[in-house]
């Protein structure tokens, strides 16, 4: 404040290069940092603490931490309109020249934020406020509450353009995956690699070393900590069986030692290399995993603990020792243990005034406190914090003294930073994701890994081992054990360490206060603005499980998943309920550890590569004819073939008339086809399908229906018997895989004694449907070896022959109600045969048609489409298909279910035709059907429309629907309620066209 801003950078030290100055912008203002900075360290070097507004109260917030646990300093970093990444932690954003960052959740600016009024009105925004307030009136949610809340609660903005970058995905296998490259992780990687194992070592930051990078004075094996790190990494690098991954977050731990890593390759580059993917998703299968994920310093909970300038003590030490940045000029340190005393010494040596060290312990004794006193810094044991002052930056702190259980007012110190240390919380996130069991440690006041569920071991601070010598030994032991799981009693690698002993004294919950806190808020969860009062309210209102308290208060549910807040929250809830912390329970840690981009997850599965595309043999022909395609399962199917300026309606009307009056040609190759072969093929089909197959002659086909055991229609299709022991089964386009799966299930697991084999032949056959009164005229001169005259070859005949010299399986079948044939030829001949048939049909008026016309034609005949006119609750009788069920069959899949009383009830929804009284009105598919007109919601509804089209052939619209007791209602008038009133419909037979079937048999 008083010192010049550029005085905040120390003249030397740290892992930064002071000769390389880098300019960047934050909220539109230009700043200068240096190479090696993060956005956070560069801002702090410029005296900028204020980096965000809090989520709910819009309170000014500053940088709290130095790593991925940062809850406050969330920024949006953008390179251009398409490369906008919100919600990045400024502590993890590496600085590059020209970096553009913006703060979030503020309007119009960070300094003057309108939403701050929420803080003043906070009495009206208690925990559960949203649940209690925005429930009523229901209509207001969409119109009023949601838009306002969404604007107020913005966490960054999404990019407006499609992501132009490439994201790679890679599978990897290794013997030992080490997560975290601090002292424990490096030691583990060294010993695992020494055993000859294939090792992967990853770290979420840009430099290996973890806490050693911020360590001022430790010596390992006679080397300064950072030199030791360099040497260790060089030795690992020279080992070809070791893979080192920087900027790589292990974000998820999945069963069977499957770990997801997210590597960020060039977000730190001024100009990302063109050839490189932006991120790489590693899917690692490790034989053994060593978690060395470290620990996170625990903040302290006291009134006004969220002002900008209030940081974790360890973070201040990191900024100083690693980045050469003084976080302020005059500091007060509040601590529960010895660790922060080292910070005090480091800060003082760097020229920062340390006004006082306030120790929460009744006495501050030992080497470090003594050294601090020696350095002339005031040490105040038995302290507490009663409050802080300052608006956009902390400017003073008022301490209290705990004397014989009561709180006495203490000194007030002016300062521009407050550094707090409540001990450490082991990072057990990944361990917990792996389903390992945690155990509460009273000594550490934290949960630590107890029982592993996977081939995994934790090492170092993430299991509560803090002293550097112990951490290195722990890591080395874990690496040895992981590298040689079979070996026991292997000699352990030892490290000689000279470093100050680190304590593990932790503090949990709220600092002692005189009365029940009534002054400023004490924050527990910075990112979601959860205070001690919110937690108290939740327990007062009866929430006892931490999982419920969490959801009610949203504690720990922000993007940081409560990395800094969970344990304090648990302690507060436990105290409020007067139970031990383990009894409150533990919230579940879920992946991702830190947010992972959608790009990384999607990888190359976008655009044309999102899903495989299946095309039919005539696809190129249809494309050349200008077909409009639709997606059916993975298939591209020609929907209609517009000519000139025709729209779909006009094209479909023309195509329908052509089929009904002359002849149409249609590509039905997408039909699923399964060859059922073997001496027991007929028996197998009999057990599976509802039909009787025993009496189906060779050279004949039949419409087959397949049920599930629950009696509902699963699939349908024409089944032909091409030999005594061979059936050609067709299925719906989308149903082929699941029908084959169901068939295989019964064949393999229920009836393994049957001699029958199943082969999918969907892709082997091209199917060309030729339909219409002229169909025979077109084909009779082309078909070789089959007499297809009406007398010789009735409807549903099947035979092998040739066409254009190509072997063919010819069906006489119809899904249009017209005289029809389906030519099956090997797929490779599909297009040439199609073109030959089309050429031969010219003189008979042949017209290509698409799936939309096919739908209209089949609906005119009342033929159902599975999944459109059925929905998994429709029986054969509901669909009017009882005639298909084989008489006298004692069993088939689903038969027993059809005998249940409810499956025979007269008021079941049955398939009927629905004809709108106004012939031009095409009902909406999915519209409801009512018996009584003029109803107000809630209406009594008796059915719904399943298929609906304009029929140019009939001159009026038609629809199919499922209506309760529908067949008994034929002739009745029913009502389809629509926003503008009821539409009158008449219930009819589902067969609108040629009810006697004269044409199909022509």
């Amino acid at each position: 404040m008083n010192a010049p801003i550029d005085g905040l950078r120390t003249p030397s030290g740290g892992l930064v290069d002071r000769t390389r100055r880098i300019s960047f912008s934050f909220d539109g203002r230009s700043y200068e940092g240096i190479e090696g900075d993060t956005l956070a360290s560069a801002l702090l070097a410029n005296g900028v603490h204020l980096t965000g507004r809090s989520f709910k109260y819009h309170r000014p917030r500053g940088i709290l931490a130095a790593g991925s646990e940062e809850p406050n300093a969330l920024v949006t970093v953008s390179r251009d309109a398409a490369r906008v990444t919100p919600n990045l932690r400024a502590t993890q954003v590496e600085l590059y020249a020209g970096l553009i960052a913006e703060s979030q959740n503020r309007w119009p600016s960070l300094e003057r934020d309108f939403g701050r009024i929420n803080d003043l009105l906070s009495a009206f925004f208690p925990a559960g406020f949203y649940y209690k307030t925005f429930m009523w009136p229901r209509k207001a949610w969409k119109a009023l509450y949601e838009p306002v809340i969404r604007r107020a609660a913005g966490l960054g903005r999404a990019p407006t353009h499609a992501d132009p970058d490439r994201y790679a995905q890679r599978y990897a296998h290794c013997d030992v995956l080490v997560v975290g490259a601090g002292p424990a992780g490096i030691a583990a990687a060294l010993t695992a690699a020494a055993s000859g194992a294939r090792v992967m070592l990853c770290d979420e930051t840009a430099q290996f070393g973890g806490s050693l990078l911020a360590d001022g004075g430790a010596l390992i094996d006679g080397l300064a900590a950072q030199a030791w790190v360099r040497q260790a990494i060089e030795s690992l690098q020279s080992n070809r069986r070791v893979t080192l991954l920087k900027r790589t977050t292990a974000f998820g731990y999945f069963p069977h030692n499957f770990v997801g890593l997210n590597e960020r390759l060039n977000d730190h580059c001024e100009k990302p290399p063109q050839h490189q993917p932006r991120e790489r998703l590693w899917q690692v299968r490790a034989k053994q995993v060593v978690l060395a994920t470290g620990a996170i310093e625990r903040p302290l909970v006291f009134p006004g603990n969220d002002r900008p300038g209030i940081l974790l003590a360890g973070a201040a030490q990191t900024y100083l020792n690693r980045y050469g940045v003084r976080v302020g000029t005059r500091a007060v340190i509040v601590t529960s243990g010895d660790d922060a005393y080292q910070t005090a010494l480091d800060l003082k040596a760097a020229g920062i005034v340390v006004a006082a060290v306030a120790d929460l312990r009744p006495e501050a004794i030992g080497a470090l406190p003594e050294a601090v006193r020696q350095a002339g810094i005031e040490v105040l044991p038995a302290s507490t914090v009663l409050g802080t002052e300052g608006d956009l930056r902390v400017k003073a702190i008022t301490l209290g003294r705990v004397e014989a259980g009561s709180i006495q007012p203490g000194q007030r110190f002016e300062c521009d930073v407050v550094l707090m240390s409540g001990g450490f919380t082991p990072s057990v996130h990944l361990f917990s994701q792996s389903r390992g069991k945690l155990q509460w440690s009273d000594a550490l006041k934290a949960f630590v890994p107890a029982v592993s569920a996977e081939q995994e071991r934790s090492a170092g601070a993430c299991r509560g081992v803090y002293d550097l010598g112990d951490v290195l030994a722990d890591g080395a032991a874990a690496g040895t054990a992981a590298g040689e799981p079979a070996a026991t009693g292997a000699a352990q690698r030892r490290f000689s360490v000279s470093a100050p002993k680190r304590g593990s004294e932790s503090y949990l919950g709220v600092l002692p206060q005189a009365t029940s806190p009534s002054g400023d808020k004490s924050f527990v969860d910075w990112q979601h603005d959860v205070t001690t009062r919110d937690l108290a309210l939740a327990t007062r209102e009866g929430f006892q499980s931490i999982e419920h308290v969490k959801r009610y208060t949203t504690m720990g549910m922000a993007t940081d998943q409560g990395k800094t807040s969970n344990l304090n929250a648990m302690a507060i809830v436990a105290k409020s309920l007067a139970v031990a912390i383990p009894q409150v329970g533990l919230t579940t840690f879920r992946m991702p550890y830190t947010p992972v981009t959608f790009g990384s997850m999607a990888g190359t599965s976008r655009g044309d590569l999102f899903d495989p595309v299946r095309t039919t043999p005539t696809h190129a022909w249809a494309q050349a004819r200008g077909a409009v395609f639709e997606n059916v399962a993975l298939w591209k199917r020609a929907r209609y073939f517009p000519r000139g300026n025709e729209d779909m309606h006009a094209a479909v009307a023309r195509e329908c008339r052509a089929v009904r009056n002359a002849c149409g040609i249609f590509d039905a190759s997408t039909l699923g086809k399964i060859e059922v072969v073997g001496p027991d093929a007929a028996e197998f089909m009999n057990r599976l399908y509802v039909n009787n197959w025993a009496n189906l002659g060779v050279g004949r086909s039949r419409y087959g229906i397949l049920l599930r055991e629950d009696g509902f229609i699963y699939d349908d299709g024409v089944v032909a018997r091409t030999a005594a022991d061979r059936f050609h089964v067709t299925t719906t386009t989308g149903g082929a895989p699941r029908v084959l799966g169901l068939m295989e299930d019964y064949r393999q697991t229920e009836w393994p004694d049957l001699k029958v084999w199943l082969t999918s032949t969907t892709e082997q056959w091209a199917v060309i449907a030729v339909q219409g009164p002229n169909a025979r005229l077109v084909l009779e001169s082309m078909v070789e070896g089959i007499d297809i005259s009406a007398a010789a070859w009735p409807h549903m005949s099947v035979a092998r022959g040739k066409i254009c010299g190509v072997p063919m399986l010819l069906f006489r079948v119809s899904f249009t109600g017209e005289l029809g044939f389906e030519i099956n030829v090997p797929s490779d001949y599909g297009q040439s045969v199609w073109e030959a048939v089309f050429a031969a049909g010219r003189q008979h008026g042949i017209t290509e048609y698409g799936t939309e016309t096919m739908h209209v034609l089949r609906a005119e005949k009342g033929y159902i489409i599975i999944g459109q006119d059925t929905d998994g609750t429709v029986t054969p009788d509901d669909a009017g298909l009882t005639w298909a069920i084989g008489k006298n069959k004692t069993d088939f899949v689903g038969k027993r279910s059809l005998d249940r009383a409810s499956m025979k009830a007269a008021d079941r929804k049955q398939l009927v035709g629905l004809r709108a009284k106004q012939p031009g009105v095409v009902l909406e598919e999915g519209a409801q059907v009512a018996e009584k007109p003029g109803q107000q919601p809630p209406m009594i509804l008796i059915g719904h429309v399943t298929s609906s089209y304009a029929s140019s052939v009939l001159g009026h619209s038609i629809a199919l629907g499922l209506v309760a007791g529908g067949r008994a209602r034929i002739g009745q008038t029913l009502y389809v309620p629509m926003p503008n009133g009821d539409l009158e419909v008449e219930v009819t037979s589902p067969v609108f066209y040629d009810p006697t079937g004269a044409r199909i048999n022509g």
Binding site: P255, R435, E709, E744, D745, Q748, S897, R900
Partner: protein, 99 residues
């Protein structure tokens, strides 16, 4: 993603398989003989235990075969894989206890 040891092909990642639900549920020989209650038991009732569960898998994107597995639902660890039709293997006592 689980590693599944197909008895016919060996260890493969889960994406090659489809899940087949509870194992050892035989379709009744004569469904018509069953009353509604007994048929509904077969049709709908499944166990959902915390512990060792016998379940079916199909190597759908591999050999196509169905087979059975014993999986501890609390850890997702497989304890045995065996072919359809083979009896459920006996496990060491510490596992059986949880069934």
């Amino acid at each position: 993603m689980l590693i599944i040891d197909c008895p016919y092909c060996g260890k493969r990642p889960e994406i090659e398989f489809s899940y087949g639900g509870q194992a050892h549920l035989a379709r009744p020989q004569q469904p018509a003989q069953l009353d509604d209650q007994a048929w509904a038991e077969f049709l709908y009732m499944r166990t959902n235990i915390k512990g060792v569960y016998a379940e079916r898998w199909r190597h759908a994107r591999g050999c196509g075969r169905f087979f059975n597995a014993l999986r501890d639902t609390t850890t997702d660890h497989f304890l045995a894989f065996y072919k359809t039709g083979e009896p459920r293997p006996t496990l060491p006592a510490q596992h059986e206890r949880t069934t």
